[in-house]
Symmetry: D2
Subunit: 186 residues, 4 copies
Amino acid sequence: MARQDAISVVGVSGSLRAQSCNTATLRTACDLAPDGMTISIFDLAPIPLFNQDLEKDGLPAVVETMRQTMAAADGLLIVTPEYNSSIPGVLKNALDWGSRGASHPFCDKPTAIMGATPGMGGTARAQTHLRQILGRLNARMINNPEALIANAPERIGPDGLIGDTPTRAVIQHVLTALKDLIEQHR
Amino acid sequence: MARQDAISVVGVSGSLRAQSCNTATLRTACDLAPDGMTISIFDLAPIPLFNQDLEKDGLPAVVETMRQTMAAADGLLIVTPEYNSSIPGVLKNALDWGSRGASHPFCDKPTAIMGATPGMGGTARAQTHLRQILGRLNARMINNPEALIANAPERIGPDGLIGDTPTRAVIQHVLTALKDLIEQHR
Amino acid sequence: MARQDAISVVGVSGSLRAQSCNTATLRTACDLAPDGMTISIFDLAPIPLFNQDLEKDGLPAVVETMRQTMAAADGLLIVTPEYNSSIPGVLKNALDWGSRGASHPFCDKPTAIMGATPGMGGTARAQTHLRQILGRLNARMINNPEALIANAPERIGPDGLIGDTPTRAVIQHVLTALKDLIEQHR
Amino acid sequence: MARQDAISVVGVSGSLRAQSCNTATLRTACDLAPDGMTISIFDLAPIPLFNQDLEKDGLPAVVETMRQTMAAADGLLIVTPEYNSSIPGVLKNALDWGSRGASHPFCDKPTAIMGATPGMGGTARAQTHLRQILGRLNARMINNPEALIANAPERIGPDGLIGDTPTRAVIQHVLTALKDLIEQHR
């Protein structure tokens, strides 16, 4: 495949914790990316709290970098924990910065969503909020299949990646759907 | 009324912008607090992005202060903008820190909600998300009346407070309902 | 306990199917009601589709009966399936009729929520919608514990009731919380 | 334009009331359909309450007709009131029937949403629920522009149609976006 045809996806994790099972899911997705797709991780830790007054002299440099990286990508992968029935403030804050201005990187962008929880929920509620937010931003979301990863810690192997076969298959199915959408979108 | 009977409410604004119409609404609420109630503002600007790894040596000092201030208060007032159909990351991030641990200041706490927008929406969608989050935290919310303040900038006077009479009445009604709930709750 | 002190709860199921695992959950709740509480089932099958034009000569008789039954009860128990990430139209239709007029039976009413699914979800999303709707109606909901019954069919015994011990315990915990709220409410 | 190229859209109103401002909005949309698009109304009044037991001998005839009509259409237009912060049971019930089985008419279907209220809200909350439900069904929704029609009754003329020029423009914009999506989709 020629270089210009390679599909580039930017992935973010809503958890900043080093041992996060969501970041482990994101790293696993990088590993399982289908042929012709590369997923690179953008770290949300350096993003400042949103404050419109900070825009007076232009967006903060790290925000500008995030926006350009996302805008240049063919697709997005958002992996989110669930805190208090919604997405983390960390993730929402990044979306708030990302959505500023007349044009933003989410509009019409093929976007896949995954989420992992220690317990049974699998981030069903957080993903609902995330889908509402991304719908408002007119992102093109993968709706099926969903990746709701319950009991996540026990699915992670000693290499820090999801080792559980059915969960890896779900991750692959979502990524394949994302690839199909990106190709249909071009 | 003896000092020990005074009702103390902590108010937060989900916007960090100096000229925010939500912070103006919060300041107006401080002014309009019914007899026997004092509303003090807690600024969310210094709260760091949530990262569970920061908890290893205890909560960050500013987070601990926020939690203790909220825990000591008889009630909470949350004033939220709407960004992308939800609450700001800034506010969700504060709730994420606030909700950590087995006991947290939101459980069973009388809580009032307000929101202001430049346009027509009045934060209806953001308040829906906020109510879901606070319901999960088992807060006691004022459901009626609602304070959905549309076209907010034109309601703000030169003193930076809401000057519009019907809007001031709505703010007062919500605060009176909060006072009633706190008194019934004691 | 004198008869006049007995707690009466009205329960509805959002599924009309005879073998519904949600109706089985409701029947199980009737069985497990704590001492001093009686749960009676109100069947939603005869409720017509909501049409405001039908109100011209007063509410339909079955709707009037539903409203009076609920108004006379000390508390409500709503057991809901999840269809398409929300509550069934059948249940929403009953709430639409029930909420008509200046006074309605949901306002300030202690209300417990349960839900059962054949799969993993346990009605997390349907309950989120239901809580938004009931919050708008100012019902007093039990927020903790939640009763999200996943893989429900395999928990039902030959008698058509939930036989699974941990699930029965969750049902009992919710009913005890409802009883406590009703007693505190009186 | 040859007959086979004409775009057919099926429209439903979530209100059964004869003088409904939502049904008036739907009729206005029929009038304002762009060249090459025809919108026909499917009445939800005869749809029975959903009951899976009714499926034993096949779907009820009216449900089968609704599904075939929707499946044959190039796009859908759903006009919804807001009852208790959500969509009417009448509309959800139709979606519940429509979504049954392995294949259903909503999957990948271009779908536009409108809503009207007597008050200020414009169905913002109902549309949020509707979008969650339709997202789960993998419908292709028009996200921009939104048609949130506040203070609807005063916008309706003596002919029972929306006469207000800016509101008619919003309706046209949504229909044009629907037409574009359908054409891109073919």
